[in-house]
């Protein structure tokens, strides 16, 4: 015995966490400033393991921060800047109130500004860390760059976002690291692999935004402030890795090409330059002006056994990647004016194609629609009046699907006026037991190099066969059911105690299905074992099994739905045929 009595909540998890309000008071910040600081520093609430302990016995809802995080915020120089800014605002208001315009101007000039460089470095100690987290930054920048230059946020921010996103796109084009694209309802998803990191971002379709009222743009602006800083540094570093100049410059060839024609359309030189960059039609200038960089050949290490297999697999993967990078190489595309120019130009350029568009559409077009060497003309309208013989007129989905399939898909399905095949998400990787849409199966077959067969009739036959099978099974079931019914009848009669019409019939030889018996036995064993489970295990087991069953049910539902739809469409087709005949 002896020793001091331990008090509650003076050690352990209760001291590791701090509630939001306390943290705010400790930092002497207003709630808005605290939130801004949290956003910039990447401090987020933690959910304690034992909430009641941390909450000192109370069950009230509170958000908790790690005390360490808050202590770490205490020494942040930006906090001082926040305070300075507060004072600045006060002074400015006063000057306005007194109508001291000179004072206002002076104050404006000395507006306290802060830099977020050190925070970026602190939050992402290594470059790879930063790359890993660049997803949200990209999505946000692409969104902000589409905002109108009025109202919701500063014009400088929008311009900066535009600049950064153009730089990013240029990098992706030059490094050819785009992997997947997806046209969703929300916008266009892009996935690229940069220095081994998979980066996905979402770009909205080019429309004016209907700004919602229940969104706090200040929060978004604060995020954007940090994201632009992060993205700028990331871009700089990425350009450096490719020996590109930063800020990006078009190479000499591109510059001379673009120079003469369009200069007079833009008032400011910088503006036109950004536009030229965003056109993505010319390549960028390098620090070391080397001709096309040689592809780094993979070194071959003599290894044995499993490593060998792995090595081979790696070599194969590398080979495939290279192939994908050069997917559109040698093709010449022309974009009609109704297709989304930027995204298509970006994707096509990423895979080595030459792209151009109508001169009046955008700066930076390199050849006209009349060019005889154009191989693909991307159109998104029912039909074209003037068509050239030696090129394919295809819908834009072909480009997206080809990129995802890592091969040039047959163009027949994508001609003008044709109902497009479904556009599948490249991000879905079906596991065993998941529902795989038949289109995906077809695609996989294509990738494996199997020729697509004219399936329609065969399908019919197969299905018919299947149906037959089903019927047979059903018959079997019926027989069994009948027997059971007979037995039941007999029993009932017995139970009624009536004298049975005793009759000896020759017994049938029941073929005992050994396999089935065994299975049944096993199933029963399992059932009995499940009965003996502990309560906790049983709960978990039931949950898992419920989930599995639901999954199977959903898959079955999808299959049934598809089947019904296919049948309906087939019936339609037949009807049409009959009508034609």
């Amino acid at each position: 015995m002896g020793g001091l009595q331990k008090k509650k909540y003076e050690s352990g998890s209760a001291t590791n966490y701090i509630s939001r309000n306390k943290a705010r008071k400790k930092l002497c910040l207003s709630l808005a400033d605290f939130r801004r600081l949290c956003i910039l520093k990447g401090v987020y609430p933690h959910e304690p393991k034992h909430k009641k302990k941390v909450n000192k016995g109370s069950t009230a809802q509170r958000t908790f921060y790690l005390l360490k995080d808050i202590r770490f915020l205490l020494h942040e120089p930006i906090v001082g800047k926040f305070r300075e800014y507060k004072i600045f605002v006060r002074k400015l208001r006063k000057a306005y109130g007194k109508a001291e315009w000179g004072g206002v101007e002076r104050l404006r000039d000395n507006k306290p500004a802060y830099k977020l460089d050190h925070i970026v470095k602190e939050r992402y100690p290594t470059f790879i860390d930063a790359l890993r987290d660049v997803d949200d930054a990209l999505s946000m920048c692409f969104l902000f760059s589409t905002f109108a230059r009025t109202g919701k946020c500063h014009v400088q921010t929008i311009q900066l976002c535009r600049r950064l996103s153009v730089e990013w796109m240029n990098y992706i084009v030059t490094s050819r690291s785009l992997k997947k694209v997806f046209l969703s309802i929300k916008g266009i998803y892009y996935q690229a692999e940069v220095l081994g990191q998979t980066i996905t971002w979402l770009v909205p379709y080019q429309f004016a935004h209907d700004h919602p009222t229940d969104v706090d743009y200040r929060v978004m602006a604060t995020f954007t402030e940090f994201y632009t800083t992060l993205l700028g540094f990331v871009n700089f570093r990425l350009y450096q890795t490719l020996n590109l100049l930063y800020p990006p410059k078009l190479d000499v060839k591109g510059e001379t090409e673009l120079k003469a024609e369009f200069e007079e359309d833009y008032a400011m030189d910088s503006e036109s330059y950004l536009e030229k960059l965003s056109a993505l039609s010319a390549s960028l200038a390098r620090v070391v002006s080397s001709a096309e960089e040689e592809e780094a050949e993979m070194d071959y290490f003599p290894v044995e056994g499993e490593d060998m297999e792995k090595m081979e697999a790696r070599v194969k993967a590398q080979h495939e990647q290279d192939k994908q990078k050069k997917l559109f190489e040698g093709l010449k595309f022309f974009l009609n004016r109704e297709v989304p120019r930027e995204s298509l130009a970006f994707i096509l350029r990423c895979f080595g194609a030459q792209v151009s568009w109508d001169k009046s559409l955008c700066i930076g077009s390199t050849y006209d629609a009349e060019d005889e060497t154009i191989t693909h003309h991307i159109v998104d309208r029912p039909n074209m009046d003037k068509q050239y013989m030696n090129r394919y007129y295809i819908q834009p989905q072909w480009v997206f699907d080809s990129v995802n399939a890592k091969m040039l898909l047959p163009v027949e399905d994508y001609f003008l006026g044709v109902t497009l095949p479904p556009h599948l998400s490249p991000f879905v990787e079906e596991k065993e037991g998941d529902y795989v849409p038949p289109e995906k199966l077809k695609l996989l077959a294509l990738q494996r190099g199997e020729r697509p067969v004219e399936e329609d009739e065969e399908d019919d036959e197969e299905e018919e066969e299947e149906e037959d099978d089903d019927e047979e099974e059903e018959e079997d079931d019926d027989e069994e059911a009948e027997e059971e019914a007979k037995l039941k009848e007999m029993e009932e009669k017995k139970s009624q105690g009536k004298a049975l019409p005793v009759k000896v019939t020759p017994g049938k030889v029941k073929s005992e299905n050994r396999h089935r018996l065994e299975q049944e036995e096993k199933a029963e064993e399992k059932r009995l074992a499940i009965m003996m489970m502990k309560k906790r295990d049983k709960y978990l087991y039931d949950k898992i099994m419920f989930g599995k069953k639901r999954h199977v049910r959903e898959t079955n539902k999808m299959v049934a739905k598809r089947k019904a739809l296919d049948e309906a469409s087939k019936a339609d087709r037949k009807k049409k045929k009959q009508k034609k005949q």
């Binding site: 958000t63 770490f72 849409p437």
Partner: protein, 796 residues
């Protein structure tokens, strides 16, 4: 003070008006007239009316005037400021000087006009306070001017005191321009002449007599009645004569009473004339030539400029650089050190990435991903949080038909909120293989023998079969049913050998375990019948009868709670031997292992005679418990030792019959115990309960259940142990009998092994009741079950 303030105001107002000299006098007059009511107030404040002596009044007047003058003059600018406040006009230096000049002019004018007043002020200083005096000396001039003004006001005030009389005299009655001749005494309190018949003297030194006033009350009254002008007749104190007020005067009085201006023509809401407007007049306000200093460059400024020029020349002052708003980027990770990870990063939980879209989000998804009409309706009715899909899958024929996504900004914003507001927690996702959760048990195949199939059905009862019991030899089976019969069956053939009508629903049957006798205890209603069924070995049957008949009446007859009687007549022929009549309905009967003792349960909450133990050979009955410990559900004897198990609703009590004490109390953790069975070894007990559980107690281990088995879906009705094989069975309302392997080891360290081996189904559920009782064959691994469907079934 307000009066003074008003005066000051007026002064300033006057200053302005000086420009228009023509109007000036007129206005002064007006002012005097205006002052009338105000002065009265002033007088009030001073504290005495005209009754007081003149000098005093003068004094007070002068005092006030001095102070006000001081303030007026000393704070000339203040006045101006007040003006500012009122008129929103700027006062420039020039303007002020001009005003001063004019003020002076005005002062002169005043002096000329009101010399006697000035004289009066010169007299006043004697009575003043010292500080006021000194201040006054300092600014004498201004004081005098202020004083003048005040005097002027004072004078007008005195005039007002006289006003009525003088006005009346002058314009009504006397047409001449002379002063009022009838008053020669001046402005003195008229009380002084109150007692005299005259007021003052005329030029010749003769008394001027007051008009004769010998009116008494009556005259007064008469006059009031007769004279129509009585109401407008006023006595003039100066002369003592009555004066009839003219219409104008009455009007004036009325107006003053209502707080209006005396002059009808005065318009108080005259449009304000802005003298100092933004319009540039052709004439300057003042004619003063500009100062010389306005032509000469300032030396101080020159010095300052010189300094700045020098500083610029020396490079001390640099022009302000235009701000560079574009951020500067550089290689931030040039010296990246992966080890410099801060301490807090250890606890860092990186934000989960946004979920990647599936096929259903495509603008042109496969048709099966589109929702059907029903699904869409349910989707719309669900809350946004509940929805499985966050958006409605849609199909567009071509890319150009795809509209903007309306919730784009929302979703981005929500992501932002998630990033900085959402609490994060590291959660371990255990990837459990569900197969691993299933306990590894010995295979039922290895635990043979146990009953596996239904082999015989014993039909005959027309109602539910409450209880069954197997003869110790295993050849016979007895069953008691609600249809009031007890049936004896041959086990091997399912033949009903004997049916005994007992006349009442049979609650319980029990075959005596003693193989040397053949006795069956049957309980129905209040009675328990001991029956010799007459089956099997005749020797044993006769031995049984002999045992019953060999009973000799004891010499001392004890008072017993149960009445023992011999069966006679038909009952005897049926096989009934002894009839025990109990005070209440008997629910259960059970034999001791030796077959001599018989325990009966009469559940009743309020009585302490719930359990009785009979000794058959001596026909003796005893009540083992003195106290009621709750409703007894069932009882059982220990197979070897003299213990007695009593199951109440939630506990099982174990009594030592020899020591007559409670040895153990088992907590069943059940809501309501229905049945109980004791392992033939005697150290293990199973309890079935109505809340679907079966509790296995190991008496050596603990008083809590060693295992709780929740195998049944519905209430358990019966449990039983096999006598030789390590088996036990439980029957339940769900119509199934579950047979479990329950191995009890001799080694005390090894816990019993319990493995369910078979679920036997056969009974049909009638009236929500399934299996009511289970019993094992004494030697074979067979189990009998009786059900609510009126059958007994044998599973082998």
């Amino acid at each position: 003070m307000s009066a003074r303030g008003a005066a000051a105001e007026r002064n300033s107002g006057m200053k302005k008006t000086t420009e228009k000299r023509k109007n000036r006098e007129k206005e002064e007059q007006q002012q005097e007239e205006e002052e009338l009511p105000m002065f009265d107030k002033n007088a009030d404040k001073v504290g005495h009316l005209d009754d007081t002596d003149e000098e005093k009044e003068d004094l007070s007047d002068s005092e006030e005037s001095v102070f006000s003058g001081l303030e007026d003059s000393g704070t000339d600018d203040d006045d101006d400021e007040e003006d500012d406040g009122d008129d929103d006009d700027d006062d420039d230096g020039d303007d002020a000087s001009g005003e001063e000049e004019e003020e002076q002019d005005e002062e002169n004018h005043n002096k000329v006009e009101k010399d006697p007043a000035a004289g009066e002020t010169s007299l006043t200083p004697q009575t003043e306070d010292k500080p006021a005096k000194s201040r006054k000396l300092k600014k004498k001039k201004s004081v005098t001017s202020g004083g003048d003004e005040e005097e002027e006001r004072g004078k007008s005030e005195r005039d007002s005191g006289l006003k009525i009389s003088s006005q009346v005299d002058e314009y009504e009655q006397d047409t001449s321009d002379e002063e009022d001749i009838r008053n020669t005494v001046g402005n003195i309190p008229m009380e002084w002449y109150k007692d005299f018949p005259h007021i003052g003297y005329d030029l010749d030194g003769k008394k001027i007599f007051k008009p004769i006033r010998s009116k008494d009350e009556l005259d007064e009254f008469l006059e009031k009645m007769e004279n129509p002008d009585y109401w407008r007749t006023v006595q003039d104190k100066m002369t003592g004569s009555d004066v009839r007020l003219s219409d104008e005067q009455v009007d004036l009085v009325h107006r003053l009473q209502h707080g209006k201006f005396g002059d009808i023509n005065f318009n108080e809401y005259e449009p304000a004339i802005d003298f100092f407007s933004n319009e540039v007049m052709i004439h300057p306000v003042t004619n003063r030539p500009e100062d010389k200093r306005s032509f000469i460059p300032s030396l101080i400024e020159k010095e300052k400029v010189g300094k700045l020029v020098h500083a610029i020349k020396m490079g001390w002052i640099k022009p302000r650089r235009p701000k560079d708003s574009a951020p500067l980027y550089y290689d931030l990770w040039a010296k990246e050190d992966p080890n410099s990870i801060l301490g807090r990063h250890k606890m860092h939980v990186p934000a989960p990435k946004i979920r990647l879209p599936g096929h259903e989000e495509s603008y042109n998804p496969p048709p099966e991903y589109l929702l059907t009409e029903e699904e869409r309706l349910t989707w719309e009715q669900q809350d946004p949080e509940e929805r499985k899909l966050s958006l409605l899958p849609q199909k567009f024929p071509s890319l150009r038909a795809v509209p903007a996504f309306t919730r784009f900004i929302h979703e981005r914003f929500e992501r932002c909120l998630d990033l900085y507001l959402c609490p994060r927690q590291r959660k371990m996702r255990v990837n459990v293989n569900p197969e691993d959760l299933i306990p590894k048990l010995p295979k039922p195949k290895d635990l043979h023998p146990f009953p596996t199939t239904q082999s015989l059905v014993y039909r005959g009862h027309s109602s539910l079969v409450r209880s069954i019991s197997v003869a110790p030899g295993g050849q016979w089976l007895v069953s008691g049913s609600d249809d009031g019969t007890v049936r004896f069956w041959e086990v091997a053939t399912a033949r009903c050998l004997k049916t005994v009508e007992v006349g009442g629903a049979v609650k319980s049957v029990a075959w005596s375990p003693n193989p040397a006798v053949c006795l069956v205890a049957i309980s129905h209603g209040n009675t328990v019948v001991l029956m010799n069924p007459g089956l099997g070995d005749r020797l044993i049957l006769s031995a049984t009868d002999q045992l019953i008949s060999s009973y000799e009446e004891p010499t001392e007859v004890k008072d017993q709670p149960v009445e023992w009687s011999l069966a006679e007549g038909t009952e005897h022929q049926q096989g009934q031997r002894l009839i025990l009549t109990h005070p209440r309905a008997v629910k259960q009967v059970t034999w001791h292992g030796k077959g001599d003792y018989l325990a009966c349960v009469m559940p009743d909450v309020s009585s302490n005679v719930q359990v009785v133990i009979h000794q058959v050979s001596k026909r003796r009955t005893q009540n083992p418990f003195r106290k009621n410990k709750g409703m007894v559900q069932c009882v059982s004897f220990h197979p070897i030792r003299p213990y007695f198990f009593v199951a109440t609703q939630r506990h099982v009590r174990v009594y030592n019959l020899i020591k007559q004490e409670l040895t153990k109390k088992l907590m069943t953790n059940c809501k309501w115990v229905s049945s109980m069975a004791i392992h033939p070894g005697g150290d293990n007990v199973i309890c079935g309960s109505y809340d679907c559980r079966l509790a296995w107690f190991d008496l050596d281990l603990s008083t809590k259940p060693y295992k709780m088995l929740r195998h049944h879906k519905k209430a358990l009705r019966g449990v039983a142990y096999h006598r030789q094989y390590p088996l036990f069975a439980s029957g339940s309302d769900d119509g199934s009998v579950i047979v479990c392997h329950g191995m009890v080891y001799n080694d005390l360290l090894q816990n019993p092994l319990i493995v369910p081996v078979k679920v036997l189904k056969g009974h049909t559920i009638t009236h929500d009741l399934g299996v009511l009782d289970v019993a094992f064959h004494p030697t074979q691994p067979w189990v009998f079950s009786s059900g609510a469907d009126g059958t007994v079934r044998l599973f082998t």
